[in-house]
Symmetry: C2
Subunit: 201 residues, 2 copies
């Protein structure tokens, strides 16, 4: 956006919008125009929602989830199974599992995966807090729900080794054909895993 | 995003983000998490930029461009050719032409195209103000730079008829092969137009 068309305020807005994941320079311009057109219905409420969120959102000191209080809602929820900790890479993964309503227990957000090339070692992830939690009396199982990528799986192996010193059961997600998935589009590793773990009808 | 994971503030943020063009529910969640991670570098500045923009941006009373003052920078610019008005559909189109630095004259933003099915008639567009401007002494040419779509072209014909009552020259953008375009990917209409308007080498 040439600065001399509209002044620096819109250029600044576009430049910041273009830093959102999924928006490039062109779509940031479109988003800015959309916001300006919908000033009262969208731009002001969104500015306000961001200010509020920036002020009140904190990371849960227990599990690493984000919420307006620490411990977070999930950690505070007395109805949840305290014996199971589900380990995820990111808060986005936690949200995905919550949407599916498949975890009755608690979570632990690792904050990424080990990546020596990027300088991310064990101390950069929430591994020590996981070990501490796993040593707690109530906890009997850690379900490692990291992504099925090379980084996720090598991190899973490292964490499995670290958890050996505790008494907890360590489990991982099953591999197989995604529900609704077509075999023709699946890679060989997935097909091999699905056949190896085949179930009786 | 289930409301009971994180409280209503993040749900509200995601819901508003998902209204931006190019962001759906999934990418709005990713954007929200990105904003929360980059609270100080991105979320607060963006909230501020939106508040500022919402407060100071106005539509130019002359041409329909957006700016912090009315008349806008382009209309105020004494160095620009007052004899040419370039008619565009949206402010985004105006920006595109300004980025290309191909218009030395002024602009007029129509605000869309005629669309009887959507209930958009001549009175919903900035047509009357265009006619008034075209009657001005200084103006000698209106260049109709509407999109080369069916809606854009039928609107262009309607506006050409309306401008007949004035003395201005009415022109339109040339059709032809886009620079860098491959013939194999172009439609027959474009190819026919490019051949009909062929130039000597």
């Amino acid at each position: 956006m040439s600065r001399n068309v509209t002044g620096p305020e819109i250029a600044e807005l576009i430049q910041l919008l273009s830093k959102l994941p999924g928006l490039g320079p062109r779509s940031a311009r479109r988003a800015a125009l959309h916001l300006i057109r919908k000033k009262d219905q969208l731009m002001k409420p969104l500015a306000n929602a961001m200010s509020v969120a920036a002020d009140i959102i904190v990371e849960c000191g227990n599990c690493g989830n984000i919420d307006t209080l620490s411990p977070c809602m999930i950690c505070r929820d007395e109805k949840r199974d305290k014996s199971l900790i589900c380990l995820v890479e990111t808060v986005g993964d936690l949200w995905a599992l919550e949407r599916a309503e498949v975890i009755k227990g608690q979570y632990h957000v690792l904050g990424g995966t080990l990546s020596p090339l990027d300088g991310i070692g064990p101390d950069d992830l929430n591994i020590n807090t996981l070990i501490e939690r796993a040593k707690g009396e109530e906890v009997s199982e850690v379900l490692i729900a990291l992504n099925a990528t090379v980084e996720g799986q090598s991190t899973a192996h490292y964490i499995t080794d670290m958890l050996e010193e505790t008494d907890v059961k360590i489990s991982r997600l099953a591999h197989g054909v995604p529900v609704g998935g077509e075999l023709d589009y699946l890679d060989e590793g997935t097909l091999a895993a699905a056949i190896k773990s085949r179930k009786e009808m």
